[in-house]
């Protein structure tokens, strides 16, 4: 992106305060504002002050900061809005659903049946293409961490997956596949 385009970036101006927004948090690295076109009430955008389009362009320090701020803002939203959960979501690239030319991290307060499609439904995948993908991904991950990675032993919890697929018939109320009692406790914990 050229300097001129950066100067026209709406989100750079929102982060710096040149364009007014409902700011709920700010520090030297990021600003968090309420989305004016929210998925649900209280949808927050965490915007890096430095102009970056996607996460891979960020320094490790900024990535780490963004993660910690997101955790704390998620908790703040749960307490402030008395919701039972949040989705913390990033889209890197147009193919992933990114709409703005500036990196945004979304924190979306969630309630039952709110119509937000961030469920990650279990899918029947072609085993051959999954294995081909893994064979390409493993060395690429190793390169990033500077280590050699062997093809790992892959385990699939079959019984659980079948149960999860049954619950797919009612996508409105995804039933937890396991640990239900603990998930109930989580809900109670978050509700406090």
């Amino acid at each position: 992106m050229s300097e001129e385009e950066q100067q026209q970036c709406v989100f750079c101006h929102i982060a710096s305060g040149k364009i007014p927004a409902k700011k709920v948090y700010e520090d030297d690295k990021v600003a968090a504002v309420l989305d004016i076109n929210p998925a649900t009430s209280g949808h927050v955008l965490v915007i890096p002050k430095e102009h970056v389009s996607v996460m891979p362009q960020m320094s490790e320090e900024l990535v780490a900061h963004l993660g910690m701020i997101s955790k704390q803002l998620s908790f703040a939203l749960i307490r402030a809005l008395k919701v039972e959960g949040t989705s913390v979501f990033v889209a890197n690239g147009v193919a992933a659903g990114q709409r703005a030319p500036h990196f945004l991290l979304h924190i979306i307060p969630r309630s039952a049946n709110d119509g937000v499609a961030l469920q990650l439904l279990p899918a029947k995948l072609d085993e051959k293409s999954v294995n081909e993908t893994i064979a390409k991904l493993v060395p690429a991950v190793g390169k990033q961490f500077g280590v050699d990675i062997k093809l790992p032993a892959v385990e699939k919890p079959k019984a659980k997956l079948e149960k999860a697929e049954k619950s797919k018939e009612k996508p409105e109320k995804p039933k937890p596949a396991d640990g239900k009692s603990e998930l109930d406790r989580i809900t109670e914990m978050l509700a406090k």
Binding site: P56, V63, I69, F89, V90, A117, A153
Partner: protein, 169 residues
């Protein structure tokens, strides 16, 4: 076998891609798309708020590197990062997971939402409510330093006050 499937997988090092002392990156045991990677804290924690700040920082750093590998190794055109924090957010397992999802143009991956404009008054009242809870945001919990091993006797710096004390009979 513990109560947590992911703690068991980590112990057996199943699906392992990368591990540090704090986090574990594994091929998702129940992927929604090929090449989905799950980044988890090693300590059992059901939700993000139960994970120490410095571990969350490492989860994001590891997820970003995995994301770069997804771009380079798979030739993906995009990645999604997603934490489903709580059952209403679609959380299915009792261990917190930061998912890295490879995306390709026209892959029809069912993810997203319908944005609706929010009235100004509603945003203003939300701003006030949320700001009341963000006063401690940005104060991070640091990892406790491991005890430093001291070799040999420690030299104590003497100052004039100690010397002065010795003079008292």
């Amino acid at each position: 076998m513990s109560e947590c499937m992911f703690c068991d997988l980590m112990q057996k090092k199943s699906n392992l891609l990368f591990e540090s002392d704090k986090v574990f990156a594994m091929l998702s045991p129940d992927p929604s798309t090929a090449g989905q990677v799950s980044v988890l804290p090693k300590v059992h924690a059901p939700i993000l708020e139960a994970v120490p700040d410095f571990v969350v920082a490492e989860m994001f750093k590891v997820a970003n590197k995995v994301g770069i590998a997804v771009f380079e190794g798979l030739g993906a055109q995009g990645t999604n990062l997603l934490v489903q924090n709580g059952p209403t957010a679609g959380q299915k397992h009792n261990h917190v997971i930061l998912n890295v999802i490879p995306r390709f143009e026209n892959d029809h991956f069912p993810i997203g939402w319908n944005p609706k404009p929010a009235p100004e008054e509603e945003l203003s009242s939300l701003e006030g409510k949320i700001k009341d809870e963000t006063k401690n945001v940005g104060l991070f919990e640091k990892e406790k330093a491991r005890p430093v091993e001291i070799e040999g006797p420690q030299e104590v710096k003497e100052d004039y006050r100690i010397k002065a004390l010795r003079r008292i009979p």
